[in-house]
Protein backbone atom coordinates (compact mmCIF):
# COMPACT_ATOMS: atom_id res chain seq x y z
CA UNK A 1 0.00 0.00 0.00
CA UNK A 2 2.76 2.43 1.06
CA UNK A 3 5.07 1.41 -1.80
CA UNK A 4 2.35 1.68 -4.45
CA UNK A 5 1.23 5.19 -3.41
CA UNK A 6 4.33 7.33 -4.18
CA UNK A 7 4.72 5.84 -7.69
CA UNK A 8 1.61 7.27 -9.31
CA UNK A 9 1.77 10.15 -6.87
CA UNK A 10 5.09 11.34 -8.28
CA UNK A 11 3.91 10.93 -11.90
CA UNK A 12 0.76 12.81 -11.03
CA UNK A 13 2.74 15.53 -9.27
CA UNK A 14 4.80 16.25 -12.38
CA UNK A 15 1.66 16.40 -14.49
CA UNK A 16 0.16 18.77 -11.99
CA UNK A 17 3.14 21.12 -11.83
CA UNK A 18 2.76 22.15 -15.48
CA UNK A 19 -0.98 22.35 -15.99
CA UNK A 20 -1.95 22.50 -19.62
CA UNK A 21 -5.26 23.95 -20.60
CA UNK A 22 -5.95 21.86 -23.71
CA UNK A 23 -6.17 24.07 -26.74
CA UNK A 24 -3.60 26.67 -27.76
CA UNK A 25 -3.04 29.07 -30.65
CA UNK A 26 -0.46 31.60 -31.75
CA UNK A 27 -0.93 35.33 -31.57
CA UNK A 28 1.12 38.20 -32.96
CA UNK A 29 2.45 41.03 -30.86
CA UNK A 30 -0.27 43.63 -31.15
CA UNK A 31 -2.84 41.24 -32.53
CA UNK A 32 -6.19 41.09 -30.80
CA UNK A 33 -8.04 37.80 -30.69
CA UNK A 34 -11.72 37.83 -29.96
CA UNK A 35 -14.03 35.01 -29.04
CA UNK A 36 -17.80 35.18 -28.94
CA UNK A 37 -19.93 33.51 -26.32
CA UNK A 38 -23.65 33.64 -26.90
CA UNK A 39 -25.14 33.08 -23.47
CA UNK A 40 -28.41 33.63 -21.57
CA UNK A 41 -28.45 36.03 -18.64
CA UNK A 42 -27.15 35.20 -15.15
CA UNK A 43 -24.69 32.70 -16.60
CA UNK A 44 -21.21 32.43 -15.19
CA UNK A 45 -18.21 32.23 -17.50
CA UNK A 46 -14.71 31.32 -16.34
CA UNK A 47 -11.76 31.80 -18.67
CA UNK A 48 -8.25 30.55 -17.98
CA UNK A 49 -5.23 31.25 -20.10
CA UNK A 50 -1.52 30.62 -20.02
CA UNK A 51 1.04 32.30 -22.27
CA UNK A 52 4.40 31.11 -23.54
CA UNK A 53 6.94 33.23 -25.33
CA UNK A 54 9.03 32.01 -28.27
CA UNK A 55 12.72 31.99 -27.40
CA UNK A 56 14.92 32.60 -30.45
CA UNK A 57 18.03 31.22 -28.78
CA UNK A 58 16.67 27.80 -27.89
CA UNK A 59 14.20 27.74 -30.77
CA UNK A 60 11.31 26.70 -28.53
CA UNK A 61 8.66 28.14 -26.30
CA UNK A 62 9.68 29.12 -22.76
CA UNK A 63 7.60 27.46 -20.03
CA UNK A 64 6.69 30.70 -18.24
CA UNK A 65 7.55 34.32 -18.82
CA UNK A 66 7.22 36.80 -15.97
CA UNK A 67 6.52 40.36 -17.00
CA UNK A 68 4.44 39.35 -20.00
CA UNK A 69 0.85 40.45 -19.59
CA UNK A 70 -2.38 40.03 -21.44
CA UNK A 71 -5.16 42.54 -21.54
CA UNK A 72 -8.61 41.02 -21.32
CA UNK A 73 -11.62 43.00 -22.46
CA UNK A 74 -15.15 41.66 -22.28
CA UNK A 75 -18.08 43.40 -23.96
CA UNK A 76 -21.71 42.45 -23.67
CA UNK A 77 -24.31 42.31 -26.45
CA UNK A 78 -24.85 46.11 -26.27
CA UNK A 79 -21.07 46.63 -26.75
CA UNK A 80 -20.82 47.90 -23.19
CA UNK A 81 -17.52 46.95 -21.54
CA UNK A 82 -18.10 44.76 -18.50
CA UNK A 83 -14.50 43.80 -17.83
CA UNK A 84 -11.29 45.46 -18.95
CA UNK A 85 -8.27 44.33 -17.00
CA UNK A 86 -4.62 43.56 -17.27
CA UNK A 87 -3.52 40.10 -16.15
CA UNK A 88 -0.13 38.44 -15.86
CA UNK A 89 1.23 35.77 -18.15
CA UNK A 90 -1.09 33.24 -16.47
CA UNK A 91 -4.54 34.53 -15.80
CA UNK A 92 -8.02 33.61 -14.83
CA UNK A 93 -11.03 35.83 -15.44
CA UNK A 94 -14.64 35.38 -14.40
CA UNK A 95 -17.79 37.23 -15.25
CA UNK A 96 -21.52 36.72 -14.96
CA UNK A 97 -23.75 37.93 -17.76
CA UNK A 98 -26.55 40.30 -16.78
CA UNK A 99 -28.08 40.60 -20.22
CA UNK A 100 -28.64 37.75 -22.64
CA UNK A 101 -26.77 37.87 -25.92
CA UNK A 102 -23.46 37.53 -27.68
CA UNK A 103 -20.63 38.52 -25.36
CA UNK A 104 -17.23 39.21 -26.84
CA UNK A 105 -14.06 38.18 -25.02
CA UNK A 106 -10.96 39.87 -26.47
CA UNK A 107 -7.35 39.18 -25.58
CA UNK A 108 -4.29 41.05 -26.62
CA UNK A 109 -0.75 41.22 -25.40
CA UNK A 110 0.36 44.51 -23.92
CA UNK A 111 4.03 43.73 -24.01
CA UNK A 112 6.40 45.63 -26.30
CA UNK A 113 9.37 43.47 -25.28
CA UNK A 114 8.17 40.68 -27.55
CA UNK A 115 9.49 42.18 -30.77
CA UNK A 116 12.95 42.42 -29.26
CA UNK A 117 13.25 38.83 -28.06
CA UNK A 118 10.65 36.69 -29.64
CA UNK A 119 10.20 37.71 -33.23
CA UNK A 120 6.61 38.43 -32.29
CA UNK A 121 5.26 34.94 -31.59
CA UNK A 122 3.26 34.16 -28.51
CA UNK A 123 1.54 30.89 -27.66
CA UNK A 124 -1.70 31.24 -25.72
CA UNK A 125 -3.38 28.28 -24.04
CA UNK A 126 -7.04 29.03 -23.53
CA UNK A 127 -9.92 27.37 -21.77
CA UNK A 128 -13.34 28.98 -21.49
CA UNK A 129 -16.03 27.25 -19.46
CA UNK A 130 -19.64 28.38 -19.51
CA UNK A 131 -22.62 27.72 -17.28
CA UNK A 132 -22.74 24.38 -15.49
CA UNK A 133 -19.19 23.54 -16.62
CA UNK A 134 -17.92 26.22 -14.25
CA UNK A 135 -18.96 24.19 -11.22
CA UNK A 136 -16.19 22.27 -9.51
CA UNK A 137 -18.05 19.24 -8.18
CA UNK A 138 -15.40 17.70 -5.92
CA UNK A 139 -15.10 21.12 -4.25
CA UNK A 140 -18.88 21.42 -3.85
CA UNK A 141 -19.06 17.92 -2.41
CA UNK A 142 -16.37 18.74 0.14
CA UNK A 143 -17.89 22.10 1.08
CA UNK A 144 -21.53 21.00 1.45
CA UNK A 145 -20.63 17.49 2.59
CA UNK A 146 -22.76 15.74 0.00
CA UNK A 147 -22.94 12.02 -0.57
CA UNK A 148 -22.30 10.62 -4.03
CA UNK A 149 -25.98 10.42 -4.89
CA UNK A 150 -26.63 13.94 -3.65
CA UNK A 151 -23.74 15.23 -5.74
CA UNK A 152 -25.06 13.50 -8.85
CA UNK A 153 -28.52 14.97 -8.21
CA UNK A 154 -26.91 18.37 -7.79
CA UNK A 155 -25.12 18.00 -11.12
CA UNK A 156 -28.38 17.06 -12.84
CA UNK A 157 -30.13 20.04 -11.26
CA UNK A 158 -27.41 22.39 -12.55
CA UNK A 159 -27.67 20.94 -16.03
CA UNK A 160 -31.45 21.28 -16.10
CA UNK A 161 -31.19 24.87 -14.85
CA UNK A 162 -28.80 25.66 -17.70
CA UNK A 163 -31.19 24.08 -20.22
CA UNK A 164 -34.06 26.15 -18.81
CA UNK A 165 -32.06 29.38 -19.10
CA UNK A 166 -31.14 28.54 -22.68
CA UNK A 167 -34.81 27.89 -23.50
CA UNK A 168 -35.80 31.29 -22.09
CA UNK A 169 -33.09 32.93 -24.13
CA UNK A 170 -34.36 31.04 -27.16
CA UNK A 171 -37.82 32.51 -26.60
CA UNK A 172 -36.39 36.03 -26.43
CA UNK A 173 -34.41 35.51 -29.62
CA UNK A 174 -37.33 34.02 -31.48
CA UNK A 175 -39.33 37.12 -30.61
CA UNK A 176 -36.58 39.34 -32.03
CA UNK A 177 -36.47 37.25 -35.17
CA UNK A 178 -40.23 37.52 -35.55
CA UNK A 179 -40.09 41.31 -35.10
CA UNK A 180 -37.40 41.58 -37.77
CA UNK A 181 -39.43 39.44 -40.19
CA UNK A 182 -42.58 41.45 -39.58
CA UNK A 183 -40.70 44.70 -40.08
CA UNK A 184 -39.36 43.39 -43.40
CA UNK A 185 -42.87 42.36 -44.39
CA UNK A 186 -44.28 45.80 -43.55
CA UNK A 187 -41.46 47.56 -45.37
CA UNK A 188 -41.91 45.49 -48.52
CA UNK A 189 -45.67 46.16 -48.48
CA UNK A 190 -45.52 49.91 -47.91
CA UNK A 191 -42.59 50.62 -50.19
CA UNK A 192 -44.19 48.65 -53.04
CA UNK A 193 -47.39 50.70 -52.70
CA UNK A 194 -45.36 53.93 -52.44
CA UNK A 195 -43.30 53.10 -55.51
CA UNK A 196 -46.38 52.22 -57.56
CA UNK A 197 -47.95 55.54 -56.53
CA UNK A 198 -44.78 57.45 -57.40
CA UNK A 199 -44.67 55.69 -60.76
CA UNK A 200 -48.30 56.55 -61.56
CA UNK A 201 -47.93 60.12 -60.34
CA UNK A 202 -44.79 60.82 -62.31
CA UNK A 203 -46.31 59.15 -65.40
CA UNK A 204 -49.41 61.36 -65.22
CA UNK A 205 -47.30 64.45 -64.48
CA UNK A 206 -45.02 63.70 -67.44
CA UNK A 207 -47.94 63.33 -69.86
CA UNK A 208 -49.68 66.49 -68.60
CA UNK A 209 -46.52 68.53 -68.65
CA UNK A 210 -45.49 67.40 -72.11
CA UNK A 211 -48.99 67.95 -73.50
CA UNK A 212 -49.08 71.51 -72.22
CA UNK A 213 -45.53 72.03 -73.48
CA UNK A 214 -46.31 70.82 -76.99
CA UNK A 215 -49.56 72.83 -77.06
CA UNK A 216 -47.56 75.89 -76.11
CA UNK A 217 -45.08 75.15 -78.88
CA UNK A 218 -47.98 74.75 -81.30
CA UNK A 219 -46.80 71.23 -82.24
CA UNK A 220 -49.98 69.46 -81.20
Amino acid sequence: MMLAAPGPGIVVLFAWLSPSYALYFHIGETEKKCFIEEIPDETMVIGKYRTQLWDKQTGSFLPATPGLGMHVEIKDSDTKIILSRQYGSDGRFTFTSHTPGAHQICLHSNSTKMALFAGGKLRVHLDIQVGEHTNNYPEIAAKDKLTELQLRARQLLDQVEQIQKEQNYQQYREERFRMTSESTNQRVLWWSIAQTLILLTTGIWQMKHLKSFFEAKKLV
Binding site: M1, M2, A5, G9, V11, V12, L13, A15, W16, S20, Y21, A22, L23, Y24, F25, H26, C34, F35, I36, E38, L126, D127, I128, V130, P138, A141, L149, L151, R152, Q155, L156, V160, Q162, I163, E166, Q167, Q170, R173, E174, F177, T180, S181, S183, T184, R187, V188, W191, A194, Q195, I198, L199, T202, G203, Q206, H209, L210, F213, F214, K217, L219
Partner: protein, 216 residues
Amino acid sequence: MCSYHGTIRVLVQVLWAHLLCGWAFGSELTFELPDNAKQCFYEDIIIGTKCTLEFQVVTGGHYDVDCRLEDTDGTVLYKEMKKQYDSFTFTAAKNGTYKFCFSNEFSTFTHKTVYFDFQVGEDPPLFPNENRVTALTQMESACVSIHEALKSVIDYQTHFRLREAQGRSRAEDLNTRVAFWSIGEAFILLVVSISQVVLLRSFFSDRKTTTTRVGS
Protein backbone atom coordinates in the same frame (compact mmCIF):
# COMPACT_ATOMS: atom_id res chain seq x y z
CA MET B 1 0.02 5.03 10.90
CA CYS B 2 -3.46 4.33 9.52
CA SER B 3 -4.34 8.04 9.23
CA TYR B 4 -1.02 8.62 7.41
CA HIS B 5 -1.92 5.88 4.89
CA GLY B 6 -5.38 7.40 4.63
CA THR B 7 -4.12 10.92 3.92
CA ILE B 8 -1.62 9.65 1.35
CA ARG B 9 -4.43 7.77 -0.39
CA VAL B 10 -6.68 10.85 -0.38
CA LEU B 11 -3.81 12.96 -1.71
CA VAL B 12 -3.16 10.48 -4.51
CA GLN B 13 -6.87 10.40 -5.33
CA VAL B 14 -7.06 14.20 -5.54
CA LEU B 15 -3.91 14.42 -7.63
CA TRP B 16 -5.20 11.62 -9.86
CA ALA B 17 -8.40 13.62 -10.36
CA HIS B 18 -6.28 16.58 -11.45
CA LEU B 19 -4.33 14.33 -13.81
CA LEU B 20 -7.52 13.02 -15.36
CA CYS B 21 -8.83 16.58 -15.67
CA GLY B 22 -5.61 17.39 -17.45
CA TRP B 23 -6.05 14.70 -20.07
CA ALA B 24 -9.75 14.69 -20.86
CA PHE B 25 -10.89 18.00 -22.27
CA GLY B 26 -13.49 19.66 -24.41
CA SER B 27 -12.98 23.06 -25.99
CA GLU B 28 -15.84 24.92 -27.52
CA LEU B 29 -15.11 28.32 -29.05
CA THR B 30 -16.71 30.81 -31.44
CA PHE B 31 -14.32 33.19 -33.16
CA GLU B 32 -14.31 35.64 -36.01
CA LEU B 33 -12.34 34.79 -39.13
CA PRO B 34 -11.55 37.87 -41.23
CA ASP B 35 -11.37 37.65 -45.02
CA ASN B 36 -8.20 36.08 -46.46
CA ALA B 37 -7.30 34.83 -43.01
CA LYS B 38 -6.42 31.45 -41.59
CA GLN B 39 -6.69 30.50 -37.93
CA CYS B 40 -5.04 27.40 -36.50
CA PHE B 41 -5.50 25.68 -33.17
CA TYR B 42 -3.22 23.07 -31.63
CA GLU B 43 -3.74 20.41 -29.01
CA ASP B 44 -1.49 17.78 -27.43
CA ILE B 45 -3.20 14.40 -27.57
CA ILE B 46 -2.15 11.01 -26.16
CA ILE B 47 -2.25 7.92 -28.35
CA GLY B 48 -5.52 6.00 -28.29
CA THR B 49 -7.75 8.92 -27.28
CA LYS B 50 -11.00 9.22 -29.17
CA CYS B 51 -11.47 12.79 -30.39
CA THR B 52 -14.26 14.61 -32.19
CA LEU B 53 -14.02 17.86 -34.12
CA GLU B 54 -17.29 19.56 -34.98
CA PHE B 55 -17.59 22.96 -36.63
CA GLN B 56 -20.30 25.23 -37.99
CA VAL B 57 -20.20 28.58 -39.73
CA VAL B 58 -22.53 30.96 -37.91
CA THR B 59 -22.50 34.19 -39.94
CA GLY B 60 -20.89 35.58 -43.06
CA GLY B 61 -21.07 35.32 -46.83
CA HIS B 62 -22.15 31.92 -48.09
CA TYR B 63 -21.66 30.40 -44.64
CA ASP B 64 -18.76 28.17 -45.71
CA VAL B 65 -15.19 27.67 -44.56
CA ASP B 66 -12.22 25.41 -45.36
CA CYS B 67 -11.18 23.06 -42.59
CA ARG B 68 -8.04 20.96 -42.28
CA LEU B 69 -6.94 18.59 -39.50
CA GLU B 70 -3.35 17.34 -39.36
CA ASP B 71 -1.63 15.00 -36.98
CA THR B 72 1.85 15.25 -35.43
CA ASP B 73 3.75 14.42 -38.63
CA GLY B 74 1.67 16.67 -40.85
CA THR B 75 -0.44 13.85 -42.30
CA VAL B 76 -3.80 15.26 -43.25
CA LEU B 77 -6.55 13.41 -41.39
CA TYR B 78 -9.43 15.57 -42.57
CA LYS B 79 -9.64 18.14 -45.31
CA GLU B 80 -12.79 19.78 -46.63
CA MET B 81 -13.23 22.91 -48.70
CA LYS B 82 -16.17 25.30 -48.39
CA LYS B 83 -18.10 23.29 -45.86
CA GLN B 84 -20.91 24.76 -43.84
CA TYR B 85 -21.13 22.20 -41.06
CA ASP B 86 -19.33 18.94 -40.34
CA SER B 87 -18.38 16.51 -37.62
CA PHE B 88 -15.27 14.30 -37.69
CA THR B 89 -14.34 11.59 -35.18
CA PHE B 90 -10.93 9.97 -35.03
CA THR B 91 -8.75 7.99 -32.64
CA ALA B 92 -5.30 9.43 -32.09
CA ALA B 93 -2.76 7.07 -33.63
CA LYS B 94 0.28 8.98 -32.39
CA ASN B 95 1.30 10.99 -29.36
CA GLY B 96 1.88 14.65 -29.98
CA THR B 97 0.47 17.92 -31.18
CA TYR B 98 -2.50 17.80 -33.51
CA LYS B 99 -3.35 20.89 -35.51
CA PHE B 100 -6.60 22.03 -37.09
CA CYS B 101 -7.04 25.13 -39.21
CA PHE B 102 -9.96 27.12 -40.55
CA SER B 103 -9.35 29.14 -43.66
CA ASN B 104 -11.32 31.98 -45.22
CA GLU B 105 -8.66 32.66 -47.86
CA PHE B 106 -11.07 32.12 -50.75
CA SER B 107 -13.25 35.03 -49.65
CA THR B 108 -12.39 38.58 -50.64
CA PHE B 109 -14.51 40.69 -48.35
CA THR B 110 -16.70 38.65 -46.01
CA HIS B 111 -15.86 38.00 -42.38
CA LYS B 112 -17.02 34.68 -41.08
CA THR B 113 -17.92 33.66 -37.56
CA VAL B 114 -16.98 30.03 -36.96
CA TYR B 115 -18.00 27.80 -34.05
CA PHE B 116 -16.05 24.65 -33.27
CA ASP B 117 -16.19 21.98 -30.59
CA PHE B 118 -13.12 19.81 -30.11
CA GLN B 119 -13.72 16.95 -27.67
CA VAL B 120 -10.71 14.98 -26.53
CA GLY B 121 -11.37 11.80 -24.59
CA GLU B 122 -14.23 11.29 -22.19
CA ASP B 123 -15.41 13.72 -19.56
CA PRO B 124 -13.63 13.29 -16.25
CA PRO B 125 -15.62 11.22 -13.73
CA LEU B 126 -17.43 13.06 -10.98
CA PHE B 127 -15.38 11.36 -8.30
CA PRO B 128 -11.88 9.97 -8.32
CA ASN B 129 -13.34 6.50 -8.04
CA GLU B 130 -10.14 4.64 -7.57
CA ASN B 131 -11.77 2.08 -5.28
CA ARG B 132 -14.83 1.48 -7.39
CA VAL B 133 -14.95 -2.27 -7.47
CA THR B 134 -18.70 -2.67 -6.95
CA ALA B 135 -21.12 -1.85 -9.77
CA LEU B 136 -23.19 1.32 -9.65
CA THR B 137 -26.50 1.07 -7.84
CA GLN B 138 -29.68 1.49 -9.83
CA MET B 139 -30.07 5.07 -8.62
CA GLU B 140 -26.53 5.91 -9.62
CA SER B 141 -26.80 4.35 -13.06
CA ALA B 142 -30.14 6.16 -13.56
CA CYS B 143 -28.34 9.40 -12.68
CA VAL B 144 -25.57 8.60 -15.14
CA SER B 145 -28.03 7.95 -17.98
CA ILE B 146 -29.97 11.13 -17.21
CA HIS B 147 -26.68 13.02 -17.24
CA GLU B 148 -25.79 11.64 -20.67
CA ALA B 149 -29.26 12.43 -22.02
CA LEU B 150 -29.06 15.99 -20.71
CA LYS B 151 -25.63 16.39 -22.28
CA SER B 152 -27.10 15.50 -25.66
CA VAL B 153 -30.01 17.92 -25.03
CA ILE B 154 -27.51 20.70 -24.39
CA ASP B 155 -25.64 19.70 -27.53
CA TYR B 156 -28.81 19.89 -29.64
CA GLN B 157 -29.65 23.23 -28.03
CA THR B 158 -26.27 24.57 -29.08
CA HIS B 159 -26.80 23.48 -32.67
CA PHE B 160 -30.28 24.96 -32.68
CA ARG B 161 -28.93 28.23 -31.28
CA LEU B 162 -26.33 28.41 -34.06
CA ARG B 163 -28.90 27.73 -36.78
CA GLU B 164 -31.20 30.34 -35.28
CA ALA B 165 -28.35 32.87 -35.19
CA GLN B 166 -27.69 32.14 -38.84
CA GLY B 167 -31.36 32.58 -39.78
CA ARG B 168 -31.63 35.74 -37.75
CA SER B 169 -28.53 37.29 -39.32
CA ARG B 170 -29.97 36.57 -42.80
CA ALA B 171 -33.32 38.10 -41.81
CA GLU B 172 -31.64 41.24 -40.45
CA ASP B 173 -29.55 41.52 -43.63
CA LEU B 174 -32.70 41.21 -45.71
CA ASN B 175 -34.44 43.90 -43.66
CA THR B 176 -31.70 46.49 -44.14
CA ARG B 177 -31.32 45.59 -47.79
CA VAL B 178 -35.06 46.02 -48.44
CA ALA B 179 -35.06 49.45 -46.75
CA PHE B 180 -31.96 50.64 -48.58
CA TRP B 181 -33.03 49.48 -52.02
CA SER B 182 -36.62 50.72 -51.67
CA ILE B 183 -35.48 54.24 -50.85
CA GLY B 184 -32.88 54.04 -53.58
CA GLU B 185 -35.36 52.90 -56.21
CA ALA B 186 -37.92 55.58 -55.32
CA PHE B 187 -35.22 58.20 -55.62
CA ILE B 188 -33.98 56.83 -58.96
CA LEU B 189 -37.56 56.76 -60.24
CA LEU B 190 -38.08 60.44 -59.46
CA VAL B 191 -34.72 61.47 -60.88
CA VAL B 192 -35.23 59.50 -64.12
CA SER B 193 -38.76 60.77 -64.77
CA ILE B 194 -37.84 64.40 -64.16
CA SER B 195 -34.70 64.18 -66.28
CA GLN B 196 -36.69 62.50 -69.10
CA VAL B 197 -39.03 65.50 -69.22
CA VAL B 198 -36.17 67.99 -69.03
CA LEU B 199 -34.29 66.20 -71.82
CA LEU B 200 -37.34 66.09 -74.03
CA ARG B 201 -37.96 69.75 -73.48
CA SER B 202 -34.36 70.53 -74.40
CA PHE B 203 -34.83 68.77 -77.77
CA PHE B 204 -37.67 71.11 -78.71
CA SER B 205 -36.92 74.41 -77.03
CA ASP B 206 -33.98 75.62 -79.20
CA ARG B 207 -35.25 74.53 -82.59
CA LYS B 208 -38.33 76.55 -83.41
CA THR B 209 -37.93 75.79 -87.09
CA THR B 210 -38.34 72.01 -86.92
CA THR B 211 -42.10 71.97 -87.08
CA THR B 212 -41.93 70.19 -90.45
CA ARG B 213 -40.34 67.13 -88.80
CA VAL B 214 -43.36 66.62 -86.59
CA GLY B 215 -45.74 67.02 -89.51
CA SER B 216 -44.16 64.26 -91.70
